[in-house]
């Protein structure tokens, strides 16, 4: 499998720009600010799995505060009106949209799963390695989008 089909952090950035411009920052004044970020100790982590011709996960992780802001933006509500279910739904949808756009860059026979959302801990995927990560802050809260590939397949030698 050619490395050229593996999405890069630049691709993640392009996808993130689209998502921010459509849902989280339509006015273009509160972008995702890239840079070093400390891992949120308790937050929200939403992921979708990719299977088929490519195996791995796309993960969207952020602090609870950031998830609340995201839900408020997505659903055009005040942050005080956002319920836990809203946060889960919106984080899941973000993972779905990012994962779906990543998938369309991978070989055609790749499928994307429904999103899986975890609160209070980061999604952990043993036997995978991180391919790329877009990390930074949004509204001063940690936010990251990362891609993980299943280690077993990544180490299969070329035929």
């Amino acid at each position: 499998m050619s490395d050229q089909t593996t999405p890069t952090v630049d691709n993640l950035r392009e996808i993130a720009e689209q998502v921010w411009s459509a849902y989280l920052d339509p006015e273009g004044i509160r972008p995702l600010m890239l840079g070093e970020t400390s891992e949120a100790s308790s937050g929200v982590s939403a992921s979708v799995s990719l299977t088929g011709a490519w195996h791995g996960h796309v993960v969207v992780t952020c602090s609870s505060e950031a998830a609340r802001n995201a839900a408020a933006a997505f659903l055009a509500m005040e942050t005080t009106e956002v319920s836990d279910e809203d946060m889960t739904d919106v984080m899941g949808e973000l993972a779905n949209i990012v994962g779906g756009n990543v998938k369309s860059m991978l070989p055609a026979a790749t499928a994307v799963s429904l999103p899986h959302v975890v609160t209070g801990a980061a999604n952990r995927f043993p036997t995978t390695r991180q391919i790329c990560e877009l990390a930074g802050t949004w509204l001063d809260e940690p936010f990251s989008i990362s891609m993980w590939q299943s280690r077993e397949l990544a180490e299969v030698p070329a035929a």
Binding site: S21, I97, S104
Partner: protein, 117 residues
Amino acid sequence: MRLILRRIVGQLGFEVADAEDGRAALDLLAGMENVPDLALVDWNMPNMNGLEFVTAAREDARLREMTLVMVTTESEQSHIVRALAAGAHEYVIKPFTSEAMIEKLALLGLVPTGANT
């Protein structure tokens, strides 16, 4: 996503009903007296996916007049072509802005003139 779409089309004056997957949607439609003018359909759903729903809706004489718009992350050319071949009228790729959704609906003649955009 259903909440977001509810908000966008609600502002255009639509009455909105929603269902979790294609099968639930067909069941819901079977019980309705008036068939909706528009269905916004995701692709990846359990039980019956969006493509299967579109196919079923087009084969049902009662549902044939309903405008079908796919709203999904599936953005490969082959997916779009299959959806159109199955009978979808339009296709919105996520992420989309609300202006884009409204413009697509306007292209289909579904936005009453003078609606708040």
